[in-house]
């Protein structure tokens, strides 16, 4: 028998990007919260500037729960599963992957909320790709704007506004939706190379601007500004300048006295009572089983963890997994196409040894529906992102652009001259959900506890390939304008594999037949269960997910607090 713990109001499963944010408005509203985190606390001492450890061997994320349940993947149902990786890039720790993520903190574009209706209005319904299950979000950008603002100021985001209340500022992104005010901090500094790239973008008539980052460009909330030391990518911040939830919302929630953080709590199942209401969660610490009863459960792990936990939580009321009586858990899955970048070789050094991947120049001219697609054969687009990030082992592994072999004296001469002369752009592209892309439980592979891992069945479709080819062309044009002497395009990709930008599986929408959670992030089938994270998002847009995930988490938590008596008043 599990050890039954004292009742609480809300239990949050996972204190990462989403759960770490949601805890704050709940605790501030007087609600008692228990935050169960599979990982541990980490401190600045743990964040050594060590490429071998952080980037090659995958510490500290290699040692945690997520790493023991890496999903299997296959492109489609008739293909065998690909070999599983050994290091999952997502991390279990207080603060989760916000400890070592890039920190890019983008708002979505209004189009991303209304892909179906806007595409139909502008180009006709036939332009929605065949087989896509995309729906409009149940609300629009304006509804989320207030929460974007709360997160930008609550955790701290540096950036340059491009549209404050409809007033366009050419220093920022002219395509961004109106925001109520600018960012709380100016953008991160630029290097000479980034300045050069911005100049070249302008020469082409593009609209370059600094990207938004959850990294301090100056002292914020009594924490240090960024030191630009070059180990931000997959590394935690040694001066707490990266605004993970570990150093922002979680300590503030703890300071209310109403957030209890429980580390090394590996949640296995969610309990459901005889009335079909959620009763609490079971977790393991050092092999000992505990039951944490709660009036409301918020599932706030990564997309794979959220889907898996629901599918593993079977009960009389939910024989196919919690909140899955419509068979929607695991459906509408997709991930950003993180392949299909473009690399360039320049004739002189780019001086990129010290920097961070959130420090750079963006172009949104070809993102979302910011350009006319009438004569094109796809919808959506990509954000072009050129950034400053290089470390020695990674540099040694650079492409030789066909100019040298991979080893020997000729390679050594090449790398000596060119180690600091390449740049690889990241192009964040629209991906849509399709009826045959999904997550379920693997029939064979299990974690060390004996529970099945997720199986991802997903591939990029024609629309995604066309977006990739189109945006690669724009990126190549930009690099050439800046003087690149060689260009290499990465393959546009078929199988999705597993991803750090995984979406869907517990999609949010008004229709319970096609969505797991409602417009507030609460389950259609078990209303005292909420789901936080990108697993609720029905579209990806052309920008990184974290800020939207955090804005949605804040909104769900605030809704829960405002309607606490109704939602928490269980029938049992």
């Amino acid at each position: 028998m599990a050890n039954r713990l004292k009742d609480t109001d809300v239990v949050i499963v996972g204190l990462g990007a989403a759960g770490g944010v949601a805890a704050l408005p709940l605790a501030q509203a007087g609600i008692e919260v228990v935050g169960l985190e599979a990982g541990t606390w980490l401190t600045r001492k743990d964040f050594a500037p060590d490429e071998l450890r952080n980037n090659v061997r995958g510490w500290p994320q290699s040692v945690q729960k997520a790493n023991q349940e890496i999903p299997t993947s296959r492109p489609n149902a008739s293909s065998p599963s690909a070999p599983r990786g050994t290091v999952h890039p997502m991390q279990n720790s207080v603060g989760g992957t916000t400890l070592h993520y890039w920190g890019q903190s983008w708002r979505l574009n209004p189009w991303d909320f209304k892909v179906v209706s806007e595409t139909t209005r502008r180009y006709g319904a036939s332009r929605i790709p065949k087989g896509s299950t995309v729906e409009d979000w149940p609300f629009d950008y304006d509804e989320l704007e207030a929460y974007y603002d709360k997160v930008e100021y609550g955790v701290g985001v540096s950036g340059q506004a491009g549209n404050v209340d409809g007033r366009i500022d050419p220093r920022g992104n002219p395509f961004e939706a109106p925001r109520r005010r600018g960012y709380p901090m100016p953008p991160l500094r630029w290097t000479e190379f980034i300045e050069k790239m911005a100049g070249s973008a302008k020469s082409l008539g593009f609209h370059p601007f600094p990207g938004p980052a959850a990294v301090n460009s100056r002292s914020y909330q009594n924490r240090s500004p960024c030191m630009y030391h070059g180990f931000c990518n997959r590394g935690g911040c040694h001066v707490d300048a990266k605004n993970s939830t570990m150093v922002t919302t979680i300590p503030r929630a703890q300071a209310t006295g109403r957030l209890k953080v429980v580390t090394r709590a590996h949640v296995t199942t969610i309990e459901v009572d005889a009335n079909g209401q959620v009763a609490g969660v079971n977790y393991l610490t050092d092999g000992v089983e505990y039951f944490q009863p709660a009036k409301v459960v918020l599932v706030a792990g990564y997309t794979y963890e959220n889907v898996r936990l629901l599918l593993l939580s079977k009960s009389k009321a939910f024989p196919n997994g919690l909140s899955n009586n419509h068979g929607q858990v695991g459906r509408h899955y997709f991930s950003h196409n993180m392949l299909a970048g473009v690399s360039a070789l320049f004739p002189s050094n780019t001086s990129s040894w010290y920097g961070l991947p959130a420090q750079g120049v963006a172009v949104d001219d070809w993102a979302d529906d910011n350009f006319d697609h009438s004569g094109l054969d796809f919808i959506g687009g990509g954000n072009l992102w050129v950034y400053s990030d290089r470390r020695p082992i990674g540099a040694a592994g650079m492409s030789t652009f066909g100019r040298a072999p991979a080893w020997g004296s000729a390679w050594k001469a090449f790398i000596k001259e060119n180690a600091d002369r390449s740049n690889t752009a990241y192009i964040q592209k629209t991906t849509l959900p399709y009826e045959d892309n999904y997550i379920d439980l693997d029939p064979v592979v299990k974690d060390p506890l004996g529970f099945p891992v997720c199986r991802v069945t997903a591939e990029f479709k024609e629309n995604e390939r066309r977006v990739s080819l189109f945006t690669q062309g724009k990126m190549e044009q930009w690099y050439r304008e800046a003087g690149a002497v060689a260009i290499q395009r990465a393959p546009v990709g078929g199988a999705m594999g597993i991803s750090t930008h995984a979406y869907g599986g517990t999609r949010m929408g008004d229709n319970p037949a096609t969505n797991v959670v409602d417009r507030w992030g609460l389950s259609h089938e078990a209303p005292n269960l909420g789901v936080l994270g990108a697993s609720t998002m029905g579209t990806s847009g052309a920008h990184n997910p974290t800020l939207t995930v955090q804005a949605l988490a804040w909104r769900t938590a605030e809704h829960l607090a405002k309607n606490w008596n109704r939602i928490s008043n269980r029938r049992s």
């Binding site: 001492k45 964040f47 050594a48 071998l52 510490w59 290699s62 020695p392 080893w407």
Partner: protein, 197 residues
């Protein structure tokens, strides 16, 4: 090449490889990143020593691949070129390595190309990784590619100095800064983390 390796410091006990395996490996890394007009290479950097140490820790799952791969490479050198790998001229060593790289070499368990890719990858780690792990001796790898060393703070002036090609290497490892926990010490119990922690 092996003489240069030994000459640069007192002989150290091997942790994973046999003396013969180490000789073969050192000869291989010496061709992957040779000592030449562009300065020291993987031998001076101690890439083979890095691999030997790592095979007792983080790279231990590849220990068997090294044992069988190094033996297969030496056998292939003997059967195709008439000498052990170490005895061949640099030109013949390179031709053997090309066969291994392209998968043309026979006698390997699995693909010789996979063995080659693994060794090249680990040679990069041992030449360009933090010296804390036993490679990149005297910062030979970082000096080769112009990496100016681990810093915990890079001011706007430092960045401009770098852009002017004037930023000198500080020759510092991450763990020359006393503020950091060595490797994955705190989590190694459940990690299979780095043994050296």
């Amino acid at each position: 090449m092996a003489r240069a390796f030994q000459a640069s410091g007192a002989p150290e006990a091997l942790e994973s490889l046999s003396a013969h395996e180490m000789e073969v490996l050192d000869a291989i890394v010496g061709r992957l990143i040779p000592t030449d007009a562009n300065g020291p290479g993987a031998v001076e950097a101690g890439a083979a020593r890095y691999i030997d140490r790592a095979l007792a820790g983080a790279l231990s799952p590849t220990r068997e691949a090294y044992r069988s791969g190094l033996a297969a490479l030496d056998r292939y050198a003997q059967s195709s070129r008439g000498k052990t790998f170490k005895e061949l001229s640099p030109t013949d060593q390179d031709s053997v390595l090309i066969d291994v790289e392209t998968g043309a070499a026979t006698g390997f368990t699995g693909s010789s190309a996979a063995f080659f890719a693994m060794v090249l990858n680990h040679t990069h780690q041992g030449t360009f990784g933090d010296p804390y792990y036993g490679g990149n001796r005297d910062f030979a790898g970082w000096d080769l590619i112009g990496y100016p060393g681990v810093r915990t703070m890079v001011s706007p002036t430092d960045q401009r100095t770098l852009e002017a090609h004037q930023l000198k290497s500080n020759h510092k490892s991450a763990y020359d800064y006393g503020t950091f926990t060595k490797s994955s010490a705190r989590l190694s119990a459940d990690a299979g983390g780095d043994r050296q922690a």
